[in-house]
């Protein structure tokens, strides 16, 4: 990638964020030690530097947090919606004020480029709080009956790919509808949730309304299984989602699951090719492909396959991989060593099965967890890389001849979260979109999010919707 026009490094300053050497659990408005004193470390994926030591919540802590949330629920749910809205608006504004700090923090803890945390994550996080703040006093008119009631205590478990955004998707509608929350962030990215706890205090949110319990899978399992939790919301892998569904089955807990995906990005021969290339890039290389709705299967009409691939390869050669804090970085680090080894294993299997692997010339940093943007061509529906969610910067390219074939291949997956359609023909967009079994279908764009737009899956991608008016339903008693 040596060019005559080399961009000098443009690192965002990390002095805007002050990370403490250790953090406790956030229960009932206070930071406290774990009952059994356990701690774990969180590292920066781009450097493997230890950022902080975090208290690890055990069963006793889960119980304490759920009880705090139960106690807070009485007063919180009794507040007029307009009062709850004030707190949410306040939180939204504080997030905006502290957005640079939070963006740098998220980049340090997650490994994604500052460009994405600054320009995508943080604006969306604030937007979700603003949006649901607006609903808090209008629930009677949301279409769920005259005065829908909150469910009670919500136990929420979120993943590491969009730590703060997933927190916003979960907490904003829960609070707007009058529920209280116990949230478990992922073990590799707990920091922004703990900073959010501080924001709750800054906003004067009543004690116990939001509780944050960092920990591993067992913490999440204890939270999901706690008998006094009324609602479980989970975003993460399909395997864990199935376990949760089994745990919750037969209880009266309400459940929503946002799980894995293997989104199809369908490019017809009359597509705006240059913009389709951009859409493919943002579809699979946004957040290093660690996106449940990533367009990880490219379905391209045979007649334009060669030229599209050529354009795509040329475009991938301009992607800049490296220091996530550099404002010019397009591709950051993979979130963890485990995730990197998962990606590596699946890519090796793809090669072993005969798919053709390609990456641009790309120098990987020597420390941290990195994976070069990768294309697989000569892929068929039977290849593992066309079926399994890789959750990394790996795109599988398949071709089709007719719209029917495109739809059949796109739907031939256990998942159903997202899809993309690229064509200049409006009627084709509508015809194809109507046949795709996916929760979100983008046309002539990809990976666009908005708080007003519901998001959720079909089949093994889960059930329930987050965002929009639909997102309220998951936190209201509408039976």
């Amino acid at each position: 990638m040596a060019s005559v026009f080399e961009y000098a490094p443009a690192p965002e300053s990390r002095s805007v964020v002050d990370i403490a050497p250790s953090y406790g659990l956030f229960i009932d408005g206070e930071f406290v030690e774990a009952a059994d004193g356990k701690v774990f470390k969180t590292v920066s994926p781009s450097t493997e530097e230890v950022l902080s030591e975090i208290a690890q919540a055990g069963e006793a802590d889960v119980d304490r947090a759920v009880r705090a949330a139960r106690t807070a629920f009485g007063k919180w749910s009794a507040l007029p919606g307009s009062e709850r809205a004030k707190y949410l608006f306040r939180i939204a504004r504080i997030i905006q004020e502290r957005s640079r700090e939070l963006a740098v923090l998220e980049t340090l803890d997650n490994g994604k480029p500052i460009k994405e945390t600054r320009d995508a994550d943080l604006p969306l996080v604030a937007a979700h709080f603003f949006y649901y703040a607006g609903w808090a006093d209008k629930l009677d008119h949301a279409g769920f009956g005259p005065s829908p009631r909150p469910l009670g205590v919500a136990g929420q478990v979120i993943p590491w790919n969009f730590p703060l955004l997933m927190l916003a998707w979960k907490i904003a509608p829960a609070l707007a509808t009058g529920n209280t929350v116990v949230l478990k962030p992922a073990e590799t990215t707990p920091l922004s949730a703990l900073f959010f706890a501080d924001i709750c205090r800054q906003a004067g949110l009543p004690k116990g309304v939001v509780n944050i319990l960092p920990g591993y899978g067992d913490t999440g399992a204890a939270l999901v299984a706690h008998p006094d939790v009324n609602k479980v919301a989970f975003t993460g892998s399909t395997a864990v989602g199935k376990q949760i569904a089994r745990t919750v089955a037969g209880s009266r807990k309400k459940l929503t699951l946002e799980l894995g995906g293997k989104g199809a990005n369908i490019v017809f021969d009359d597509a705006p090719i240059d913009q389709a290339v951009e859409g493919i890039v943002s579809g699979i290389f946004f957040n290093q492909g660690q996106v449940c709705c990533a367009g990880s299967r490219l379905l391209v009409q045979e007649s334009v396959q060669d030229e599209l691939l050529e354009s795509l390869k040329r475009r991938l050669s301009t992607l800049r991989l490296g220091d996530p804090l550099d404002k010019n970085t397009d591709i950051g680090a993979i979130n963890s060593a485990e995730q990197l080894s998962r990606i590596t294993t699946l890519v090796e299997r793809g090669e072993a099965e005969g798919a053709e692997r390609w990456s641009p010339d790309c120098e990987l940093p020597t420390s941290g967890y990195w994976f070069a943007p990768t294309l697989f061509t000569n892929v068929t529906q039977a290849h593992t890389v066309a079926r399994d969610e890789i959750f990394g910067p790996v795109l599988s390219v398949l071709s089709f001849r007719t719209p029917e074939e495109a739809v059949a291949k796109a739907n031939n997956t256990p998942y159903g979260l997202s899809a993309g359609i690229w064509t200049e023909k409006g009627s084709r967009i509508l015809a194809v979109a109507g046949k795709l079994r996916a929760g979100v279908i983008w046309s002539n764009t990809f990976n666009k999010f908005d708080p007003t737009s519901p998001f959720g899956g079909y089949k093994e991608s889960g059930f329930g919707r987050e965002g929009g008016r639909h997102g309220l339903e998951a936190y209201l008693d509408v039976r």
């Binding site: 026009f5 080399e6 961009y7 000098a8 090719i273 913009q275 951009e278 859409g279 764009t445």
Partner: protein, 330 residues
């Protein structure tokens, strides 16, 4: 990269030699229209988003110093006023050769761009410096004159020593779908330029109204033998934008892929600050590539841009901002 274009077969005279493989598409108005309308569409939202995203590249220190000098060397220092005088044109020429009299390491601009009647004056002012003289011929800026008048205008400018001719296309004919008329006019002007002058074809993108039209105009211009494709005259409300320049860079990139012939790009009008100019250079770097990062292949049509580049250059050299009185007014 047109997908529905007819297979290249026959040859036809006119246009750049390397383009012969595509010449059959210019056999008739119908075949030309089929070809141009078979080009891949442009999605407005996606194009503008890409241009905006590239505008967020952070260019600092050595990269910025490189970009400023490169941008200065790409400026077509322009005066296109009815009130232009020989004195003003001479001043422009001297400034083009040594843009910053206080710092002789400052590169010269690429060219001075004047009306045809001022070519000789400009020629004399830049003599021996390597700075080119460009002239806007063909009834600039409206282009509404008989072909003979336009050709006479071009011949005048070339005879007076112009190295480059900036021609405007007949937007009326283009918008009416009479592509062959536009094509024939460009090839005629190309011929009038002879071998000594390079031809820049101005589309007046602000009047073409859609991005699809801009892509079609780009291919039309390149097929007809343009050495440069240029956004605009600087005389209408919307001139060069990051999005239309990005689109034209895609066009020259695709054209070279298809024909092996490299064409230059010149955004003109509305680029006033160093920050803007650097954004355009990023577009060049990441769209067409480094082969275009040279004033033989990329130009800025600008008059006020140069002074801002000079002030930024002084700032980098001294660590302090100077002010408008530390650069020359024209």
């Amino acid at each position: 990269m047109p997908t529905n274009a007819p297979a290249p077969t026959a040859e036809r005279s006119g246009g750049t030699p390397g383009v012969h493989a595509l010449m059959d598409v210019t056999a008739s108005d119908a075949s030309l229209r089929r070809f141009l309308h078979g080009l891949p569409g442009v999605d407005t939202v996606g194009l503008e988003a890409r241009a905006a995203a590239l505008g967020t590249r952070s260019i600092k220190t050595t990269a910025k110093a490189y970009a400023i000098d490169l941008a200065i060397s790409m400026v077509d220092l322009t005066t296109l006023e009815g009130a232009d005088t020989p004195g003003k044109v001479r001043a422009l020429g001297v400034k083009a050769v040594h843009p910053d009299p206080t710092d002789r390491t400052t590169p010269s601009t690429a060219a001075v761009c004047v009306y045809p009647d001022m070519v000789a004056t400009a020629r004399a002012a830049v003599a021996g410096s390597g700075v080119k003289v460009a002239s806007v011929a063909t009834a600039f800026p409206a282009g509404r004159a008989a072909l003979e008048v336009k050709l006479a205008d071009v011949r005048d400018a070339v005879a007076a020593g112009a190295d480059e001719i900036d021609m405007v296309i007949d937007r009326g004919a283009f918008l009416a779908g009479r592509y062959l008329k536009v094509y024939d006019e460009i090839t005629a002007v190309r011929e009038a330029c002879g071998t000594s002058a390079r031809l820049k074809v101005i589309f007046e993108t602000g009047e073409l109204s859609t991005y699809d039209n801009i892509r079609r105009a780009s291919w039309l211009g390149m097929l007809a033998g343009a050495d440069f494709i240029k956004t605009s005259t600087g005389k209408v409300a919307v001139n060069a934008t990051p999005a239309n320049t990005l689109l034209m860079l895609e066009a020259v990139r695709d054209f070279r892929e298809r024909t092996g012939v490299q064409i230059g790009v010149k955004p003109a009008g509305g680029i006033r600050t160093t920050k803007d100019a650097i954004k355009f250079l990023v577009l060049v770097n990441e769209t067409a590539g480094e082969d275009w990062l040279d004033n033989h292949w990329f130009r800025f049509g600008a008059s006020s841009l140069l002074n801002d580049l000079l002030m930024q250059r002084q700032k980098l050299a001294t660590g302090r901002y100077s002010g408008p009185d530390y650069v020359t007014v024209d």
